[in-house]
Amino acid sequence: MLLLDKTLLRLSKGLWGWIVAIVIVRFAQLIGVTLFAEVIGTFLGNLASPHPDTTKLAAAASAAAAASLLTLVTRLAQGELQYRTTASARVHLREVIFDKVLALDVGGIEKIGPVSAITSSADAVEQMQTYYSLYLPSLIFSVIAPVYLFFHLAPMSLSIAVLLLVVSVVLLPLNNLFRHQIEALRRRYWVSVEDMTAYFLDSVRGLTSIKLFDRDADRSQTLQSKARRLSADINEFMRINFSSHFVNEALMYLAITIALVIVCFDLAAARINVGSGLTILLLAYGYFASIRQLMDATHDALTAVSAATKVEDIFAVDTSRAYNPQAPTDPEAYDGIRLEHVSFSYPESKNRMALNNVSLRVPRGKTIALVGLSGCGKSTVAALLARFIDPTAGNLYIDGQNYLSLTPEELRYHVAMVPQTVSLFTGSIRENLQIAAPNANDEKLYEALDEAALGDWVRSLPDKLDTAVGDAGSRLSGGQRQKMGIARVLLSQAKYLIFDESTSSVDEASEQEIWHCIRKLSRTRTLVIISHRLSTIRWADCIYVLEHGCVTARGTHEELMQHEGLYQQLVAEQAKLEGAAA
């Protein structure tokens, strides 16, 4: 079946040398196999003649042995070459796809869903390589092999040579008749796989809730129906797939049988001798080997093509970020970060403005705080500042430069963030810190850890900086995790630090330690603090109050307390609650 996939071919750069090499060793193999059939066929024919010449035995046996040795060596070489092809493909594909995943950034991953990003860079790559190591070489070889065999058969019987060549030429388009249906079924199967995988992952991640609310039974029932649909889709695919195999095999054996009939007639008419007759039968039996191999490879190639289709979906996501080195600089040349009439709405909910005409200033060296009820747009401001998203309208400036004149990477050199839940990665404490500063030595690392009130704890561990944090940091408590996040931003040397609800999920003792440390940082760095705990940000140089995506008030704590409004109300409520606790 002819499967020329645009994505796979586009990604095949640098692999064609290996692919051609595979075709060459397979051709050498074919020479060996053909030689073997001719030697054995001819010698058996000689044995069958009225006066067999057994003196030729040594010559025939050594020629056949040489031919078999040739096939052995080329078979092993083929394995090595196929490995080399998959190895380069693996490196190349993983690199390209992982780059794209990185380019997708936070917003893009949200859009396509984490599962497809994971399957594309992990499983899809494994499935795509066989296209290069098996399918493409088989496709080229299935054109060469019949022609080569044609020239070997033609001198013995032109009609048989023509017959077999014609059948081999017909098989390819014949297979393509099934192609449409098979591809459609494959896609359906792939969709079912994704559907089931996503549902399974969802179920495993939320298993605690599932168990506690006693939903195990219907969860597993839905899984069962998804699994059934998957197996029904696969069955349908197999039915069509094996029907196509049936047609192919039937046609091949019909051709062999007709060739046999011709051999019998030619033999009866003494146009050929017994040796040629036997050689023809042997060659005819192996004539379609290249096409069978292509059919087998097609199975893998279809998997590769559907995997490539999924990968193409990711490539199709536009990850180009607004970038304009000539973007107008800040007319005010403000020393710090400035948001000028910034609005933002998520593409899928246009009528709900997450931010509406927000202007605010983050003066260099000062601390500003953003407060407001959940959903007021505080975190959207943080995402804009770190450039996870770009505004729908308005401008952001940093040190007088337009945000758009910097790449996200350049910008994040200046701006770092401690999110609500810090993500840690499997590996040591050192490795987790070094993602912010790959060359930092132990001294620097401890310095940052000390500032984050984590140094003593790390020193008390038997393995110190080399202590493993567990899968995704699972061995660390919430507080330790957040402190790691702070140590990380300190190492990054960024001037502007954003704390987005950084202490909302840690225990009280850690919370106090973290605030103490943030307080100290405010003397040397520029901070943007987002918090709903008002007591913690009272000391900020300027507090912005956000309501429904708009800035409704700003000023110091004292200034804001003088006016009736949300801030005053929130402070009063909180005092009441905390007063009751005291």
Partner: protein, 565 residues
């Protein structure tokens, strides 16, 4: 678990094979049809070559009979090959995939049985790879092993019978080669390759975990421009996949090329025997030719066998991982089936608990008494055992010593369903499932009406936000979930628990992500709507626990009552 250990099987191969076959029992009829088709199809190959040679020899007047009959036999054999290939492929796959669907569900149920401990012990990436990739690999065992295995004995036997009828010397030549290619090489391949398949799988699983973490941690990676650093780690893991795949590829190729080579040698030996018999004057050239042709075709089955062996290794590795999960003992077992009735009292009596594998106890002789309608606060720094105490109450684990009694009945004697219906947990991080907001809120009560869902959402203070979304309660969480703030997700969790309507509500840091107004609202809700409910609140924040009747501090692995001023 040491690295070395993970490369070898936890079970002996025969045990793996027997357990796999036992799993295959329900699809036995499919397997029988496909095995028969495989045998008949492979025998028919001998027919094509044998009768084909016979037809030629008959025309050349070296063999008795009628060439048209031989030709008819060739046609008949050819049809059988095509038909059997269809039957074998179709029926083996139909059977195998039906079984796979069941296996997936079975595996989920196994993981569910071991939850939540298994979620702490194993990474999600690993579980996902077992559920998807490993189960898929088992397809190979059922679809591509049984047929070729049953032909491996019968087809060479048929060839040997033909050879024996011509001359025993041919048997003497063919038999050792058959033994070599059908028994020795596959067994050797299995032995040598035992760990190769496992290594490849392990490397791949490692890579997948790395990718999974990178995708879920993309925010932190991007903040520090650590993408390239992360990428080099992925490429390093990729190198490990490559090096283990190299072993796999070389093994596979050697295992299929070597028998191939010996088959060529066998065919040469047949010719040598034929020539020496002819030289000795006892030759039967027609017989020799038929033996040679039959031998050519008889090896097709051993070709597929060596192919099977290499893939079998992967199937065994996959089965090994699946059985390991299957044989894990659950942290607790359901021993009781009692319904304790509406909860009147909860008593921790001298409860001690150490996590499996840990050295130090989390609770030691802890005592706590709670009556219906009380609001109990449990405070303490992280790691002090706050979470452990409600995990014991909800029976994620059982205490090592002492008892937890509900209405005077040991929690172990109460059915888990009853226990968890009467005590609801509001987790610190609310997990939102990939379905609509309404379904997420109604997770505990799937039969709840939209009105009830709305009411719960309103009480939890999330209704306004939901109603502002274009699709309202039908908004799918798959896309939106990540965009909701921690507080918003938690309020959905609160709505979920409110709708479940339990006797006791356990709240794990319920207000950690709530702003003051919503915290006040929640406290208000608890005070009015749930005035008659028992509430156990675990928090490090005094303001949250301020509404509690009594607050206990976890100190020295015990509950110490705090004296209010």
């Amino acid at each position: 678990m040491s690295k070395k250990k993970s490369y070898s099987y936890a079970y002996p191969l025969p045990v793996l094979a027997i357990r796999l076959l036992r799993i295959g029992k329900p699809i036995a009829p499919y397997l029988v049809v496909s095995a028969l088709a495989s045998i008949v199809g492979n025998l028919a190959r001998l027919g094509v070559m044998g009768f084909g040679a016979a037809a030629i020899l008959n025309v050349a007047q070296m063999l008795a009979g009628d060439w048209r009959i031989y030709l008819a036999m060739v046609v008949f054999s050819s049809s059988l090959i095509a038909l059997c290939r269809y039957l074998e492929g179709r029926y083996s796959h139909v059977g195998a995939y039906n079984l796979l669907a069941q296996l997936r569900v079975h595996l989920f149920e196994e993981i569910d049985r071991l939850a939540p401990t298994i979620l702490i012990e194993r990474s999600q990436g690993e579980l996902l790879s077992i559920a998807v990739t490993d189960v898929e690999t088992l397809e190979f065992f059922f679809a591509h092993t049984i047929g070729p295995l049953s032909t491996v004995v019968l087809v060479p036997l048929a060839a040997l019978i033909v050879a024996a009828r011509v001359h025993l010397l041919y048997v003497a030549v063919l038999l050792p080669i058959f033994v070599l290619t059908s028994v020795l090489i596959p067994l050797l391949a299995l032995r040598v390759g035992r760990s190769i398949g496992l290594r490849y799988r392990a490397a791949l699983a490692q890579l997948k975990s790395l990718v999974l973490e990178s995708v879920y941690g993309i925010r932190d990676i991007q903040i520090f421009n650590a993408g390239q650093q992360r990428k080099s780690q992925v490429l390093e893991a990729n190198e490990r996949v490559n090096s283990s795949a190299h072993g796999l590829a070389l093994h596979q190729q050697a295992v299929s090329a070597l028998p191939d080579f010996f088959v060529y040698l066998a065919r040469i030996l047949v010719v040598v025997v034929a020539a020496s018999l002819a030289a000795a004057g006892v030759g039967n050239p027609a017989g020799a030719i038929i033996v040679s042709f039959v031998a050519t075709a008889s090896f097709s089955s051993t070709f597929s066998l060596t192919f099977v062996v290499t893939h079998l290794l992967e199937a065994f590795a996959a089965a090994d991982r699946i059985f390991r999960i299957e044989d894990c003992a659950a942290a607790i077992t359901e021993t009781g089936h009692e319904d304790c009735g509406p909860i009147q009292s909860i008593e921790f009596e001298d409860v001690s608990f150490t996590y499996p594998g840990a050295n130090t106890a989390v609770l030691n002789g802890a005592v706590l008494h709670i009556r219906a309608g009380e609001r109990i606060g449990i405070a303490g720094p992280s790691g002090a055992g706050k979470s452990t105490s409600f995990r014991l109450l909800l029976r994620f684990y059982d205490p090592n010593q002492g008892h937890i009694r509900i209405n005077g009945v040991d929690a172990r004697e109460i059915s888990l369903n009853v226990l968890r219906r009467r005590i609801a947990l509001l987790e610190q991080d609310t997990y939102l499932f990939d379905c609509s907001i309404a379904d997420n809120i109604a997770f505990a009560q799937p039969t709840a009406t939209l009105e009830e869902v709305r009411r719960a959402a309103k009480r939890a203070g999330i209704a306004d936000l939901i109603e502002s979304l274009p699709e309202g309660y039908d908004t799918q969480m798959g896309q939106m979930g990540a965009r909701l703030s921690g507080g918003e997700r938690q309020r959905i969790g609160i709505a979920r628990v409110l709708l479940a309507n339990p006797d006791v509500i356990v709240m794990d840091e319920p207000t950690s992500a709530l702003d003051v107004l919503h915290e006040r609202e929640l406290v208000h809700t608890l005070q009015t709507v749930y005035a008659d409910k028992t509430i156990i609140m675990v928090s490090h924040r005094p303001s949250t626990l301020s509404s509690c009747d009594r607050v206990y501090q976890l100190e020295d692995r015990k509950f110490i009552k705090q004296v209010s001023d």
